[in-house]
């Protein structure tokens, strides 16, 4: 961990990894979506309407994955004060927020024809909406507090407290009556999706995951470079003052 926490070394390694991540993301996303949307068989109840799972399921999964990543990075930041941890958490937040919004949006589009409503305040939908607000809150803290160190600490607390929502989202469909279906993949007794539909779905999940990795690495690079630029600007200003 310590080795990669060095920003200079991180930048060097990240620059090698990200292009490959990007290529594999693009290829697996193309394969997964084509397979899911055009090749996979129709569902016995929902016909072709079920195909929205190839976007809905990966984005919902990633909305929680990204938050989990953010919470762990925040914990590392607050406890061990690694220089890269806070930046990683901060870099992940907007990506996670977009995944959450996408999950809510695709679910809503799917809900209207199948359930008969765009929205219902059941435990799953509500807890996912709370997740979106937690992302907004987290990002808001970084914008609202000027002092970086203080912003990092407050944001980390928001991320950690909010992480308690993750098990609530996951188990909401088991703990309470919901309109939303129970888990289809991560459930006891194995996945309840036919392999012809499950394989393209897993490829889509993989692609979304790798997309997250790619963009997080880019954003961390960006945040590091921005900090370096600010450091240089300050030094330049100081030197000018000394000389002039």
């Amino acid at each position: 961990m310590h080795k990669f926490a060095n920003p200079a070394r991180f930048l060097r390694i990240s620059k090698i990894i990200t292009p490959w991540c990007f290529i594999i993301t693009a290829v697996s996303l193309a394969v997964g979506l084509y397979w899911g949307l055009f090749v996979a068989p129709e569902d016995y109840q929902m016909g072709s309407a079920y195909r929205i799972i190839f976007v809905h399921v990966p984005s919902s999964y990633m909305s929680m994955f990204a938050y989990g990543f953010m919470a762990i990075a925040s914990a590392v930041g607050i406890i061990w004060k690694h220089p890269l941890a806070d930046q990683s958490a901060r870099a992940a937040a907007p990506i996670g927020a977009v995944f959450t919004a996408l999950a809510l949006f695709t679910g809503s589009l799917w809900g209207k024809p199948m359930w008969g409503t765009y929205w219902i305040w059941d435990a799953r939908l509500t807890s996912e909406l709370v997740l979106l607000f937690l992302y907004f809150g987290y990002m808001g803290v970084w914008e609202a507090i000027e002092d970086r160190a203080k912003a990092a600490r407050v944001a980390a607390i928001v991320a950690l407290v909010g992480a308690l929502n993750l098990p609530i989202i996951k188990f909401s469909v088991d703990w309470w009556n919901t309109l939303h279906q129970p888990a289809s993949i991560m459930r006891s007794g194995g996945a309840s999706i036919h392999p012809d539909m499950l394989y393209p779905l897993l490829i889509c999940i993989f692609a979304f995951n790798l997309y997250f990795v790619t963009v997080v690495l880019w954003r961390i690079e960006n945040l590091i470079v921005r900090r370096q630029i600010r450091g240089l600007q300050i030094r330049l200003a100081e030197e000018r003052q000394e000389n002039g």
Binding site: Y44, N177, I193, M197
Partner: protein, 156 residues
Amino acid sequence: MTNTRAAKRKKKRLYLVLTSLTILALAIGLVLTALQDSISLFLDPTELKARNLPEGERVRLGGLVAVDSFQKDDNGLTYHFDITDGAETVSVTYTGSLPDLFREGQGVVVEGETRNVGPFVATEVLAKHDENYMPKEVVESLKERGVFRHAEDENI
């Protein structure tokens, strides 16, 4: 970690984070348990009957549409069906359009007012879909072999 004072501080922060989160998790757990009833989206027929709610109470009722219970009025807009959870059954009447997934044996959630006499009058009918995704051919071959089971028969 040569600096033992720094290491100690880190350990202290670790424990602080862990204990705070544990306490918070317990608190949230208690709140959610207390709110159990209002978080659940609907009552099943057994719960509805056990509640003995006064007339005119707005509730959501959920269960399976009982097989062979579906009837349509002559006007083609009013439907009658039973909702069952295996143990208890409630008759429902509804005027409006039904979602695509609505059929006998399917999980549904209906919203309406309780009645002391006569059927439950629903103002909204929503269909549930279960966690199973299968191609049509697979379901047909399972049915031919007589091993197809609608997942909702087992759980709801």
